[in-house]
Point group: C2
Chain length 122, copies 2
């Protein structure tokens, strides 16, 4: 798949909530996952490698009480990079409700996503 096809597939899977399939199918084993610096050092900070990224995704899910809604926008490709706007409205366990928008950036190399980086207000 080329970058546009990978971008389209990622968006389709994310819209169905199939995040595991997303990592299995589209990501390189040593992919990097990069958050905003404010998240560094915690369980939801940067992760290197698919095992660490999957563990982080589970840690995140475990903290969520309810997802009220969200959206995954259209991918925008430039060379071997693409961006996807995403939003989510959720309540964490403990009761804090948060609506967040983020811009997700992906880098493709040799037909796999090798880096995902998320930009949002902290």
């Amino acid at each position: 798949m080329d970058t546009q096809q990978i971008a389209n597939r990622l968006v389709a899977l994310c819209r169905e909530g199939k995040y595991d399939e997303c990592y299995d199918e589209l990501f390189a084993p040593d992919a990097r996952n990069i958050e905003m610096p404010a998240m560094a050092g915690g369980p939801l900070g940067d992760a290197q490698g698919l095992d660490a990224i999957r563990a982080k995704a589970r840690a995140w899910s475990d903290g969520v009480e309810q997802i009220h809604g969200g959206s995954v926008g259209e991918p925008q490709v430039s060379g071997n990079w693409f961006s996807v706007p995403m939003s989510m409205d959720l309540t964490f366990k403990g009761g804090q409700r948060m609506a967040m928008d983020e811009l997700c950036i992906y880098q493709v190399r040799d037909g796999k996503i090798v880096r995902e980086q998320f930009f949002y207000d902290t």
Copy 2:
């Protein structure tokens, strides 16, 4: 201006090649300009503050022999962030021709761009 309006204005100015106006009108004085890590330490590495960003833009222009073409795509907004795909085909002084695609990410705060970050292959 809200984030969408700033994004639209930046794209309009970039398409006209009005980069100075872009910085004057849309950027905060202490804005950060972030390149790929491979560029760190050189004259075209990260820059902090509009004076440093303008000096870097001049250093870049001074190295260019001819711009053959390029494009500035549509902005894509998510919260206080937006992305713009850009491409440029140019020849540097010395004769090296390069066609490059990049994904440019911008953060808006209080009606000004406070951060621009460029993603491209290195």
